[in-house]
């Protein structure tokens, strides 16, 4: 098994209200020199060693990140790997939904 570590952040220019709120909190504690704060999300996947990289890309674009407002990268990478937002093609959540019995909540 391999571990895939993914970091999702808001795109440049998209309002990061959480980051702003954290910056306010840091200021209140006296850390006024902190110039900017961005809050993102960390997701860790355990997959087979042979798991296709294009499938990682696909599941990131379809669920882990919303390409309209977010970008994602693998931990350690300096450049975002996410594609630019695409408004064509099938809806992100279409198909591949788990079968009802897989939900276990009903």
């Amino acid at each position: 098994m391999a571990t895939v570590r993914i970091i999702v952040t808001l795109k440049q220019g998209v309002l990061d209200a959480q980051g702003q709120a954290v910056r306010q909190g840091l200021r209140a504690l006296g850390y006024g020199a902190v110039h900017d704060v961005k809050v993102g999300r960390y997701v860790e996947l355990t997959v087979p060693d042979t798991y296709p990289p294009e499938e990682i890309r696909e599941l990131c674009d379809r669920l882990l990140a919303n390409p309209l407002i977010e970008e994602w990268r693998l931990e350690g990478a300096s450049e975002p790997a996410s594609k630019r937002a695409s408004h064509s093609g099938r809806p992100r959540s279409e198909a591949r939904s788990p079968k009802p019995e897989a939900w276990g909540l009903h």
């Binding site: 998209v14 309002l15 209200a17 959480q18 702003q20 709120a21 306010q24 999300r41 669920l63 882990l64 919303n66 309209l68 407002i69 937002a85 408004h87 099938r90 809806p91 992100r92 959540s93 279409e94 198909a95 939904s97 788990p98 079968k99 009802p100 939900w103 909540l105 009903h106």
Partner: protein
């Protein structure tokens, strides 16, 4: 008329919707469970507010992958009337049934209060009985209602008549002060291109009885009832 109210784990406005549709407006209402891929032959689907799946990942993101959403998508594609209220709106965005995305409120606060919104389009089933420029008052209650879409997308939506409601003041003027969450172009509600799917942040089901301070919300559901009746009779006429 038969309404279906979708229930996800974490929905919390489902009872309010069922109460208004069933007890106030005397319509048939069925509950649609998120785990079943069917809308059960209803005339109209309601996605209620709440925190489906705890809003994990992003508001509406997990709910958008639920089996019932595939059935809602089919229903919407066939022209059926769908309304997503608050969290229901967020789910429709994440499911790709409506364009755009939702950000956290720019005020960095959860906002729970009455707002006014102006009707911008009467092409949706839920605004078909209203008039453009009409001002409605109903409550909002959300932390992520800051509607976002890139400017070209917003322009395309405006041209296609997909902006349905904008936050406004008592006189109907759209002003920054009347925008409770920073939503792009003061957008409170939008539709898909066909106009049969509506998403809005304010809660019509919380403004459907005089004792609650406003009955404007009822107008949306009554419009849908009229729209569905009209659609039925036109189908009969064609036959």
């Amino acid at each position: 008329m038969r309404f279906g109210v979708v229930i996800f784990p974490g929905s919390n406005c489902d009872r309010d919707c069922i109460h208004v549709l069933g007890s106030v407006l005397r319509q048939d209402v069925v509950e649609l469970w998120h785990g079943k891929a069917t809308v059960d032959g209803v005339d109209c689907v309601v996605l209620p507010g709440g925190f489906a799946y705890g809003d994990y990942l992003r508001a509406g993101a997990i709910a958008a992958t639920a089996p019932v959403i595939n059935a809602v998508r089919e229903f919407a594609t066939s022209g059926g009337a769908v309304i997503g209220i608050c969290n229901g709106f967020q789910i429709l965005l994440e499911a790709g049934l409506l364009p755009g995305a939702m950000l956290r409120n720019d005020v960095l606060q959860f906002r729970c209060r009455d707002v006014r919104m102006r009707v911008e389009s009467t092409r949706t089933p839920f605004t078909s009985g209203l008039r453009v420029g009409q001002v409605l008052r109903m409550p909002i209650a959300h932390g992520e209602g800051n509607f976002y879409a890139p400017a070209p997308m917003l322009d395309a939506m405006e041209q296609a008549g997909q902006i349905v409601f904008r936050y406004c003041d008592a006189a109907g003027a759209v002003a920054a002060e009347a925008n409770p969450n920073g939503a792009a172009r003061s957008i409170a509600g939008i539709s898909n291109q066909q106009g049969n799917v509506l998403g809005l942040m304010p809660h019509p089901e919380r403004a459907s009885e005089a004792i609650l301070g406003s009955t404007h919300g009822r107008l949306l559901f009554q419009s849908a009832i009229g729209w569905i009746e009209g659609r039925r009779s036109s189908v009969v006429a064609v036959r």
